[in-house]
Symmetry: C2
Subunit: 415 residues, 2 copies
């Protein structure tokens, strides 16, 4: 394929939930575009395509930021351009393409998850139908790790690092004041982030197993959740070690495919994509804690101490990114620019793991339609029974998350 | 006072909610006791005084742990010995003193907050009344920062560091997808931890102010909370900048002194000290978010995007301690041992700030009764109006929390 000779401006947008490293992708795209001779101005969309529907279009100049400023932005969590959850309808799409035309945007880069890649695909198709030549690329980003064709997604490793660190620290806290502790983790349809709690069973760079460490039970959206079985599971762990740390995905579903959160909490919000709002509410954890209080019993026949935490938005913005994740978020964006340079009309970027020891990853182009609005689930080989994950999952996660702190308890106790 | 010649064993206990640095105090006490010639064995109480009420007493030998192991324990959050929230009644106190007598414990060290210092005082008095000579010392620890006579308490700086970092990162997240974000912070009666959110208005080692940074509203337990005023406050900030980040203490109270959480949520647990369980439930944040959804309006007359997070137990166990806090937690314990060595019969340790630039702190002995079961509140000079804190508070907090990450957004935007 001949290198692209299409001349014009490039625009970058950020969409969906922010992550700790989505600005690495923004900066990676800016730095790569600076070296792309066909690109005149590097523009940023304020709040994704929503900014392009405004009059005048909400575009900002990204080309004059100093290297120091760019590095500071790169390490800042959140979407520096502003993000959007709007799903553009037909009139909005027409306005978006019109805005691109009037702003001479010939290269369109959209950083986001599967909903965002769908938006990118639609914009690409509307531009083509209206006879405006514009190259559209999706740069992957999601803490959910649920994009098709990728080994993993930028943003996931850092969120998984927060979750694993949280379970690790909270496990020691729970051992101090033993009881049942339920931690609710993000991930609407895919259990990767909840499963990352399993890393907390190991400590330090060498991944030394910790005795009796939680999470002792892991409930994923991929496995139907049954209340009676949940109570029996908690009772069993509690009987054995006098406490129980539970990892629960916010997206756990009943066998009928209904969100457990929805069966327990009234008045949940829905976004423009029709998704129920599961993050930013503590209800699921509290409801499960109430069940445990009512039905689990200690040896005196009393309810155990029960607490629930919902890790919430800190999962996607905590400023201690996984080093591998930060690096890959930047590299994936640079690869998208290389696709534009190489003359591709559109595409998304997939991350492919080529080696485990040492960990290596390469990038490849996939069609927008193969990623758009599709969800990858936790593979079967990573799921153990109805309440756990496999050692293969831990092996898969470790390089993505990086080293966790090395902790020690006093056990075994000596008198 | 002549140095202590009372010979016997020493016992250390940990009590109340764990912190990220309570094991620094444990290790500080162990290391100091190793150099105290009158002390034969260094014992640890399993789950505080509760362990001493068991038959046989749940005591473990702490004297043989290697230096490497001790350092690993010191950096591990949680109470390595196990903690306790039990308040011993008269028969339990008798059993505790009897256990100390049979185990030849002459030096009793208890690491905890104001409830724990009260336990220490009671044990000291029961021992004295029963004619058993035992020296009892309280080593301060609480994320609430609410002990009398101390400038601040070990454990607080690290929890405040988590809270400030969380507000800092979450503020950028909220600016990405603008809306109302309510973050509920620990602190039953004292607003120090909630107030620490104010550090998030500054970035980096030099404390550079961030434009329009949250928290925009801070609600403390020391200031009566009024629902109508809260809604008006949120509406005003939202009208001005199109979003609003709110810091709310879990312990906010009505003008009648009733916990707002209690007026909104049914079935809350109470501990042995009669305190309502406020942490480990998401209800307060969700209830406030519901109020905002019902009553705050954007310029189209619609409810804004509203989310609530309850930071929960991660505040007290997140493994990124403030360096000053880690050092002082260890030093405060060593000072308690020095009081024993010097021949004092009992006492608690207070931290006194002697200089701000450079930050310096010294330790002094206070009577157990002057700390026991008393609560220090946020001083008036740290409170601004009904929804903010003063610059003096930020100055007070900064050395205790340490440097926060340096972040940058894209503002001001340039076209």
């Amino acid at each position: 394929m001949p290198p692209s000779t299409l001349r014009g401006n490039a625009a970058i947008g950020q969409s969906g939930g922010p992550t700790a490293v989505i600005n690495q992708s923004l900066v990676g795209a800016i730095l790569a575009l600076k070296k792309f001779a066909s690109v005149k101005s590097i523009l940023g969309m304020r709040h994704g395509v929503t900014g392009l529907t405004k009059s005048p279009p909400a575009l900002v100049d990204l080309g004059k930021l100093s290297a120091t400023r760019l590095e500071a932005i790169a390490r800042t969590p959140s979407a520096a351009l502003g993000s959007s959850r709007d799903k553009p309808d037909a009139p909005a799409c027409a306005r978006i393409v019109e805005a691109c035309r009037t702003s001479h945007i010939r290269y369109f880069f959209y950083i986001g998850g599967n909903d965002s890649s769908d938006t990118c695909r639609i914009v690409s198709e509307v531009a083509a139908r209206s006879g405006y030549e514009m190259r559209c690329f999706h740069i992957p980003k999601t803490v959910d790790n649920d994009l098709m064709h990728s080994d993993h997604t930028p943003g996931f490793g850092s969120a998984a690092r927060f979750v694993a660190t949280a379970f690790l620290a909270d496990n020691f806290d729970n051992a101090s004041l033993p009881g049942v502790k339920i931690n609710v983790v993000m991930g609407r349809h895919a259990g990767f982030l909840t499963a990352a709690g399993a890393l907390a069973r190991f400590s330090g760079a060498k991944g030394k197993p910790l005795a009796d460490a939680g999470p002792h039970l892991i409930y994923l959206p991929e496995v139907p959740f049954d209340t009676d079985r949940f109570i029996a599971d908690v009772q069993q762990v509690y009987d054995r070690i006098g406490r129980c740390q539970v990892a629960v995905s916010e997206g756990i579903q009943t066998a009928e495919g209904k969100a457990v959160a929805e069966t327990l909490i009234e008045g949940l919000d829905r976004d423009a994509h029709g998704n129920v709002q599961l993050s930013g509410v503590g209800g699921l954890g509290d409801a499960l804690a109430d069940l445990v209080k009512k039905r689990v019993r200690n040896k005196d026949g009393k309810a155990p101490r029960v607490r629930a935490d919902t890790f919430g938005y800190l999962q996607r913005c905590w400023p201690d990114p996984s080093p591998v994740d930060a690096r890959e978020a930047r590299a994936a964006a640079a690869f998208a620019v290389s696709l534009a340079k190489a003359g591709h009309a559109s595409g998304s970027v997939a991350l492919v793991r080529t080696s485990d020891k040492p960990y290596k990853c390469k990038y490849k182009r996939v069609e927008l339609a193969d990623v758009a609005a599709k969800t990858r689930h936790l593979p079967h080989e990573f799921i153990a029974g109805h309440n756990d994950v496999t050692p293969a999952l831990v092996k898969y996660l470790r390089p993505l998350v990086g080293n966790l702190p090395e902790f020690a308890g006093l056990q075994p106790f000596v008198r």
